[in-house]
């Protein structure tokens, strides 16, 4: 359905910090800043930038084995290939051979040992991309191969981890479970996910004088690219500038994962003295870059006669890949979201950060949260199966509520009533109860096809849990013609951040949108920034830009007040003009006058999130500035003969606070849901016994296409001002909607339940591929897939 509604989005009610007057730009459903350039194909991505004369091209030489000692690396055939200008190895790196974000365990090029199949061993610099790619396959590599760790179980058997185990909790969960009238335990496997940003990893490094480097990179974290390049090239940070105008998608996959390629391009530029470009081939991108963490979640719980949890224990056994990368934050966030929206009186959450010989898993929209949340949704379903109650009633009974509102890490949920209200409203508008009855009737009469339905909530904590990242800067210039140059530390990857911040700036100055010129993010204008991640982009950068505008506006106001002898309170910036008492000037006129009178019209705004703190040792604090909420109701149909399945209807109610831009927010919600649905249905990462990724291209790794999205796909914004002082009382929206897709997985699980005996547990792991669904059905029907295949095979 096309009628995605925007409740109260245009009411212009004032939120935090803004003047008490109708809003003209903020809250408007304005198109993406580059929408026209997108549709015309004129928006430039890295590979579209006109290459300087003499630009060279880079391809990566990759390890043929997943684990072992490198005994020979003969690059002579590579060097002899046509068009080769240089071959880069670890020996060429002036600084440390390390491109990791923090832990020092991600070499640019493997030196002594390889840790995963496809790991970068060297890079070829050639006159054409084709020549580089061909030459990169010509190396003679010998590896004393060892059996790789592929699975969670492999890593546990070897007891290999990338980071120390970590756990926290409250009370005595074991005792609470033991004393509960009912108990159950189970395990859910949750698959990983490839980002599949449509624009692959790319960077262009141009050498300047005295070692200066200008690097354009498709990165969510230009500051890290800058710092890591400086580190590996042994240069001061100030010699390196990193810039990015836009990415063709990021989703977390370009938070730490863009760095290595930019750094290799920079090294190539240093070694050859020529501009160097790298653009990973899609298959190489799949193999070389990290993915969402997959894990096994083992849980145990006790509950009372009403299905209310008394004690809960979960152990997340997380496959981190070969190095730490961002796994500390990711797995911590899994822990922070292991409660999702549910109160857990006595609780214990443990994690193991396991090392496997696979590419290092990394940030991905939700940053570990989705896995924690899905595991407790399964626990809710388990209670429903065991008690025969409606899963929605079990969820409602366990929801945070007044007096039952402290999270396992000690932060109070200040507004739990919102979740109750949202779920009630969605259950009503989506007609949940009546449809459940209809589905039961359908299932009773349908032999092959079975349907299911689920309604699940989302509660997602907003802030970086690594405290120092909760800061942002913006640089705003007003020129003498009244045009405004806007720059900030946030990057644009499609999420509409640039537009949202520009709307804030136009609002602050009361000027037309056209006056605000959005400019590429660069470390030369705003330094030391956080990655654009954790959904924090507009919260942080919007505030920083607002602060910058306010400072400039204050100077302009003071000047006008003095010049015209009018009180500052009587000066108003609106309608592209400045009203000064009874007079008015155009914004450019005042700007020009300010310049003539030596008033500074430039300001660097800086913002840091207040109130938040987190003591990881004590596992106590307020790590989140606030929570974003949502709820989704999904319906599914499965084919019990093949396991094929489809989501047939989706209704969503989502809380974005008071929206900065409802069109952008609805886009984030729809896109997030569909991406989450892909993660939980068709997207399957298959590593073979040799730890080779077998699904390394869109031919084998299947993200949703248009027909996978139901016609009835209704998204409604929940009208609710953020109780916290955020930019115009909006809420972050980048990540939370992804977890709305838990409803899709639970709906498929519910459909499988239609073939199950009463009270049976549904052995469905994520993703719910046709095979996974058929396996679950078959085992519930007593005809387990492998069992019977063996029998059948044994026949003459």
């Amino acid at each position: 359905m096309a009628d995605s509604a925007v409740n109260g989005a245009k009411t212009g009610v004032s939120g935090a910090g803004e003047a008490d007057r109708p809003l003209r730009h903020v809250r408007q459903a304005l198109p993406h800043d580059s929408a026209v350039r997108h549709v015309q194909g004129t928006a430039q991505y890295i590979d579209d930038i006109r290459e300087p004369e003499g630009t060279l091209h880079i391809a990566i030489g990759m390890a043929p084995k997943a684990r072992g000692r490198i005994t020979a690396l003969d690059l002579a055939p590579v060097r002899a290939a046509p068009g080769i200008v240089a071959v880069l190895t670890a020996a060429d790196i002036p600084g440390p051979n390390d491109v990791s974000p923090a832990m020092g365990d991600d070499p640019m090029f493997a030196e002594e040992r390889v840790e995963f199949h496809g790991q970068a061993l060297f890079a070829v610099v050639a006159t054409t991309r084709d020549a580089a790619r061909r030459a990169a396959r010509k190396a003679h590599v010998e590896i004393e191969a060892e059996r790789p760790s592929v699975s969670v179980e492999d890593a546990i058997a070897r007891n290999e981890t990338v980071l120390a185990d970590y756990g926290f909790g409250r009370g005595d969960a074991d005792a609470a479970i033991a004393q509960s009238p009912h108990r159950l335990e189970g395990s859910l496997r949750i698959g990983g996910q490839e980002h599949f940003y449509l624009e692959g990893q790319a960077a262009l490094a141009i050498p300047g004088e005295e070692g200066d480097l200008h690097v354009t990179s498709s990165t969510q974290h230009p500051t890290e690219v800058q710092h890591v390049i400086a580190r590996v090239l042994a240069l001061p940070d100030a010699y390196v500038t990193c810039e990015v105008r836009r990415m063709g998608g990021g989703f977390g996959g370009k938070e730490s994962q863009a760095t290595q390629w930019a750094a290799i391009a920079a090294l190539g530029a240093k070694v050859t003295g020529r501009p160097c470009k790298i653009r990973l081939d899609r298959d190489d991108d799949f193999v070389l870059t990290g993915k969402r963490h997959d894990m096994r979640c083992d849980y145990a719980l006790g509950y009372d006669d009403d299905g209310v949890i008394q004690g809960y224990k979960v152990a997340h056994l997380v496959r981190c890949g070969y190095s730490a990368d961002l796994s500390q934050g990711v797995v911590d966030r899994t822990m922070f979201h292991s409660d999702n929206a549910y109160y857990l009186p006595a609780v214990r959450i443990d994690t193991r950060r396991l090392k496997t010989n696979t590419v290092s898993n990394t940030a991905f929209r939700g940053f570990g949260g989705p896995q924690g949340m899905l595991s407790i949704e399964r626990a809710m379903d388990e209670i429903a199966w065991a008690t025969g109650r409606d899963p929605l009633d079990v969820r409602l009974a366990n929801l945070y509520a007044a007096g039952r509102d402290i999270t396992p890490y000690g932060q109070k949920v200040e507004d739990p009533q919102i979740m109750h209200a949202m779920i009630a409203e969605l259950a009503e508008s989506a007609d949940y109860r009546a449809r459940r009855a209809e589905i039961a009737a359908f299932n009773a009469s349908s032999r092959v096809l079975k349907k299911g339905i689920a309604l699940t909530p989302v509660k997602f904590g907003i802030s970086f849990t690594l405290m120092h990242l909760n800061q942002a800067g913006a640089l705003v210039h007003v020129y003498q013609d009244g045009s405004v140059h806007l720059n900030h530390g946030g990057t644009e990857m499609g999420q509409g951040l640039y537009m949202k911040v520009a709307q804030v700036v136009a609002e602050e100055f009361g000027i037309a949108m056209e006056r605000v010129r959005i400019t590429a993010t660069t470390t030369a204008k705003v330094p030391n920034t956080a990655p654009t991640a954790a959904s924090s982009g507009s919260d942080l950068n919007g505030m920083a830009a607002k602060i910058a505008c306010e400072a400039i506006k204050a100077r302009m106001t003071a000047f006008a007040s003095e010049k015209y002898g009018v009180l500052a309170e009587q000066i108003d910036f609106r309608d592209d003009r400045v009203f000064i008492g009874n007079e008015s000037l155009s914004f450019p006129e005042l700007a020009r006058d300010c310049v003539m009178n030596r008033v500074q019209l430039s300001h660097a705004g800086f913002y840091r999130t207040p109130e938040i703190w987190w003591d990881r040792e004590k596992a106590q604090g307020k790590p989140f500035f606030y929570f974003a909420y949502g709820a989704a109701c999904a319906e599914a149909v499965i084919d019990t003969l093949t396991g094929e399945n489809r989501i047939t209807r989706v209704d969503i109610l989502h809380d974005v606070g008071k929206s900065l831009n409802p069109a952008v927010d609805i886009g984030q919600i729809e896109g997030g849901f569909v991406q989450g649905m892909g993660w939980l249905t068709t997207e399957e990462l298959v590593f073979d016994d040799e730890a080779r990724l077998r699904t390394h291209a869109p031919s084998t790794y299947k993200i949703p296409v248009a027909s996978d999205v139901p016609e009835h796909f209704k998204v409604t914004l929940y009208p609710n001002a953020n109780r916290t002082q955020t930019i115009y009382r909006s809420k972050a929206v980048g990540e939370p909607p992804l977890m709305l897709a838990n409803a899709a997985f639970c709906a498929i699980t519910d459909a499988v339940r239609a073939v199950a005996p009463k009270g049976a547990r549904i052995p469905l792991d994520a993703p719910a591929t046709p095979e996974a669904v058929l396996r679950a059905c078959a085992s519930l029907q007593g005809e387990a897939l492998d069992g019977e295949a063996l029998e059948a095979g044994a026949q003459p």
Binding site: A2, P31, H32, A35, V36, H38, V39, Q40, G41, A43, Y45, D47, R133, H195, F196, Y197, L198, E199, G200, G248, G249, G250, R282, M493, G494, V637, I638, D639, L641, T642, E644, R646, T648, A663, G667, E670, G671, F673, V674, E684, R694, A697, P698, S699, T700, I703, P704, V705, A706, S707, D708, E711, P770, E771, A778, L785, E788, A789, A792, Q795
Partner: protein, 505 residues
């Protein structure tokens, strides 16, 4: 001299490809035979609106439109520029995202994409715009969700969730509207007609060439002279050998100018499909034979893949997971091969000897495939199972032709894809099914069990062996249930046999 091989039939040999862009005739005389259209556009023409998202035909970021004259009518189709070779645009009107609206203005689909917030990161957008452009200009009716989704199946978008794109498609194209582009169609058709010649095309020299003979005779001569050359049809397989396997193919014989290979005849004797008939063209006639064959074609790759890929290429390639062979084997199709020595024909199943090995002699090529009419009293079903419904390769494909005498099964042809090293018939199951009773499912069980003697499938990233084996059995049961009378709406999630509605909606 190289060209002589091609022009041995007294025709003039052309030394440059010719195509039109924006109504202007263009020639390119010098290019490496392996050059893809995408690389040419981006690197030579700096037409940078066309993007590379995967380089293997699966994401659609590189979508451009090609217009060709078909029986005098100009038809535009979307193609994947990343795997299409530059030489293949010979004789076509090339339209990229830069070309669809006069300077600065927006085409209705572009306007609608902006108005409906159809782009986020924008990287998929030019490709999506081109798919919607073709939808608009070719104006299929009705323009419902299914038609729009089919038009978009070859365009991945990771950002939007597709809803706004679907809305944009509807808003722009529900009512046909005249555009600057549509107004130029007559002129474009005339420009293309002026290019039309039956010459042989030859670019390169004896050791490295892209050649496209203009007749069957010239093709036969060329194949005999260059048995080591690669035959190129739609390039939806060969393209990937180049972009992904980096095969150093130097000699390419493109079949796209041989009109005798592109014939399509529906008559009393059945359906004759020339090797170079694209999946898109074969779709409707196959659907007329049986709705399941139509559905198989609807789900085959994407609009882009169907526009380029050919029936002959799919068969010739001999892939164990190709969709067309099992369906046509079960149907009882016959394959016609031709070479300089003459032509021969065989039951389609005999063509597939072993993995990667077909009964094709040096210098021979696939000429056509013939599907006889289905006799009265016989029923056909084919069912494809893949991880994702659209644009995915089969995990298992099952095809069943069942002969009936009353309710008794009197004949069976059963073939599967994805179950063995080649598309193959299930001889044991076929035998076991004879005399089974449509009204007694217990009598089907022997055939079901016999499948384990016919096949020992492999495990791979698409499915495990156990899953394949089970699904093969279940597809047989599903087909028999339907033939026995169960409504397909009750047995299929996507029921395009019974009328095209999603069972669950």
């Amino acid at each position: 001299m190289a060209g002589n091989a091609a022009s041995g039939h007294g025709q003039v040999t052309r030394r440059a490809i010719r195509f039109t862009r924006n109504g202007v005739a263009r020639e390119i005389a010098d290019f490496h035979p392996r050059t893809t259209l995408l690389d040419h556009l981006r690197e030579q023409e700096r037409a940078l609106g066309t993007k590379e998202g995967c380089g293997e035909g699966d994401c659609g970021a590189c979508t451009v439109a090609l217009g060709r004259l078909r029986e005098g009518r100009l038809v535009y189709e979307p193609v994947n520029a990343c795997i299409l070779l530059l030489g293949q645009i010979d004789g076509a009107d090339l339209v990229t995202v830069e070309d669809i609206a006069p300077d600065g203005a927006l085409h209705p689909v572009q306007e609608a994409m902006v108005a409906h917030h159809g782009s986020q990161c924008g990287f998929c957008t030019p490709g999506i715009v081109m798919s919607l452009f073709v939808l608009h200009e070719e104006a299929p009716r009705p323009l419902d969700k299914a038609v729009i989704d089919d038009a978009l199946a070859g365009n991945l978008c990771r950002c939007t969730g597709y809803r706004p794109i679907r809305d944009a498609a509807r808003a722009a194209s529900v009512e046909p509207s005249a555009t600057a582009f549509s107004a130029s169609r007559t002129d474009r058709a005339a420009a293309l007609a002026a290019l039309d010649d039956a010459s042989d095309l030859f670019i390169g020299d004896e050791t490295r060439f892209f050649t496209a003979p203009g007749s069957l005779a010239a093709l036969a001569t060329l194949c005999a002279a260059h048995p080591d050359a690669t035959l190129l049809a739609g390039s939806t397989d060969v393209g990937l050998w180049l972009t992904k396997s980096l095969r150093e193919i130097e000699k390419i014989i493109w079949l796209g100018r041989v009109s005798e290979l592109a014939t399509l005849e529906e008559g009393e004797a059945g359906l004759e499909i020339g090797a170079m008939v694209s999946h898109a063209r074969a779709h409707a006639p196959l659907a007329r034979l049986d709705p399941d064959l139509g559905e198989l074609m609807r789900r085959f790759g994407s609009a882009q893949v169907r526009a380029s890929g050919t029936i002959g290429g799919n068969i010739a390639n001999g892939s164990p997971i190709g969709d067309i062979a099992p369906a046509m084997i079960a149907w009882g199709a016959r394959l016609h091969l031709q070479g300089a020595q003459g032509s021969r024909e065989m039951p389609l199943e005999d063509y597939f000897l072993d993995y990667g090995k077909q009964d094709r002699r040096p210098g021979e090529f696939v000429r056509k495939v013939v599907l006889p009419p289905l006799p009265a009293g016989e029923a056909f079903r084919c069912l494809k199972v893949s991880k994702r419904f659209d644009e995915d390769i089969s995990a298992v494909m099952g095809a069943f032709r069942i002969g009936l005498e009353g309710r008794r099964i009197s004949a069976a042809r059963i073939a599967y894809g994805g179950m063995a090293a080649t598309p193959r018939r299930a001889a044991a199951a076929e035998t076991a099914l004879i005399d089974a009773d449509l009204d007694d499912p217990a009598s089907w069980q022997a055939a079901r069990a016999a499948l384990s003697r016919d096949y020992s499938p492999l495990s791979d990233h698409r499915a495990s062996a156990a899953y394949r084996a089970r699904v093969a059995e279940n597809l047989l049961i599903k087909a028999l249930n339907e033939i026995a009378g169960e409504e397909s709406a009750q047995t299929r999630i996507i029921d395009n046999r019974g009328g095209g509605v999603l069972a669950a909606e």
